[in-house]
Subunit: 303 residues, 2 copies
């Protein structure tokens, strides 16, 4: 079966590609830890072809539709931001980087920005579009956990407003580069510690940096174990996000879109505050969004 087009999610950390047949079936999938932050200017086409080249027909041009940080200033080619409130998808404004290999024709999709408060997204808008493909009348809140998690108010098929929380990046920095790295495990989970820390930050967010140091002190003085420390660190930071995103989840249904593990952490946090929460598969949303973009680009393989 031949590849009609290639769907690509090119984020900061990872590059993921799906080879799609004419009937919509996924023929192959490829993933590499070759996110935008690890690719040098001028090496994007080469990096992409390393991953997908073997799947391409030599006698025709295959469309490649890309979402994510590949469209950032430090990415392959800067794609514009569309200003919210807006439809998540604007394939007409996608940019087309010059490519040397005649087998591919590349489009990089737009991101979404917001003026007040200042905010941006690249990649999540495509997942949102994908979610709306199967839930066209959705009216509520989508939460997309990640390094920079997004809370997005959606109605009428549009992104109305959104807010980004740096929770994931803060967790990684504190767990690996701070004084807490000595006491926080790389794996392991203690649900009661997570929930207790979450509730503590929810009720007194201003104590955050003091609570963080207490993890270190508890490990020194009471031998707090490393999995427990990890769960407390996560709970403290999630408490801040859940408190900060209250305006989103308090009066609306929240659908979590993302990977299993992280979605479970967010689900347990939201359930602890009795939020109305559902989940959706992040990869399916990404693919559905890229497919909508592909369909509307009306790009066809050139014979």
């Amino acid at each position: 079966m031949s590849v009609e087009w290639v769907a690509v999610d090119w984020g900061t950390t990872n590059l993921r590609a799906w080879m799609i047949a004419a009937d919509g079936r996924i023929i192959a999938r490829q993933t590499a830890a070759l996110g935008v932050s690890s690719v040098q200017k001028g090496q994007f086409e080469h990096t992409l072809l390393d991953l997908i080249g073997d799947s391409l027909e030599s006698d025709r041009q295959t469309p490649v539709v890309i979402c994510g940080m590949a469209g950032a200033r430090q990415g392959w080619l800067e794609a514009p931001y569309v200003c919210a409130p807006c439809n998540p998808l604007h394939p007409g404004q996608a940019v087309q980087p010059e490519t040397r290999d005649p087998r591919i024709s590349v489009r990089i999709l737009t991101g979404v920005m917001q003026a007040r408060p200042s905010d941006v997204m690249r990649g999540e808008e495509t997942q949102i579009s994908g979610y709306l493909a199967t839930h066209p009348d959705f009216d509520g809140v989508l939460c997309l956990p990640g390094t920079h998690s997004k809370w997005v108010r959606v109605s009428g098929g549009c992104i109305q407003s959104f807010r980004t929380f740096m929770t994931g990046e803060c967790f990684n920095l504190l767990a690996t580069n701070s004084v807490l790295s000595h006491v926080v495990a790389g794996e392991g989970w203690n649900a009661p510690s997570f929930i207790a820390a979450l509730k503590q930050t929810l009720s007194a967010p201003q104590h955050l940096t003091a609570q963080l140091f207490s993890i270190r002190a508890s490990a020194l003085l009471e031998g707090l174990d490393r999995a427990q420390s990890r769960s407390e660190l996560s709970g403290i930071l999630m408490g801040l996000e859940i408190g900060g995103a209250r305006e989103f989840w308090e009066k609306s249904k929240t659908v979590l879109i993302g990977h299993d593990k992280l979605v479970q952490v967010y689900r347990s946090a939201l359930e602890a505050v009795s939020a109305n929460v559902e989940t959706a598969d992040g990869e399916i949303c990404t693919l559905d969004g890229l497919r909508r973009a592909y369909d509307s680009l009306k790009l066809c393989p050139v014979a």
Copy 2:
């Protein structure tokens, strides 16, 4: 003039030593970026002698009194923690690491711990003791800014309770290792941006990680300049600490003990919330504290 004893502040990042004469005058001072975190086990005596060896008489033993992280588990030799409420100074419980060089006799001072909430300090207790040497009747709050800043309630010559905030470490991590490193300057200051960000976090601390991401978005969308970004980052994190430490400064006079630059940041933050604030020189407090310890150890040069 010969050295009667050596005062040493050995922290995580720096090693500082003062050669003191019999009449109390400082004969020489030495500083090196050889904090405990950069010294291997077994190399502490060698590192110290590299710094102070030239000042020592060869025909007698000179006492060396050390405060700070040299007494931590990962330091030269672990010194006990005394549990607050307590006098800051317990020279009788200082530990004496074995040394090979006959010219020195070393004592490492104790730290202070607190059971609830879990907290520890090493080095600040000596500065507090030094401050109390010249203000024996002090009743109020001491704030010692730093990588891990301490807020300490003092009365009756004792540390009553304290709380550590990881503000400085969070600032350094975010400014140098996060997505904000692209937009935050290494130097530069914008006082109005600092105060505006401070007040924003004070009124809504739960938005902290969203505010952090807004620095990045504002730089992308509005060209927020790098000194302004740096001041906003500092203001956001200081707002959290000032809010978290409210119980300390709200009803008491606060004396800031530390280095000029950092003390000025804390002073402007505290003045923005109309706190009653004074300052004291951190180095003088350290020296006065080490001197009290030396006097009470009654260590004298051995002829």
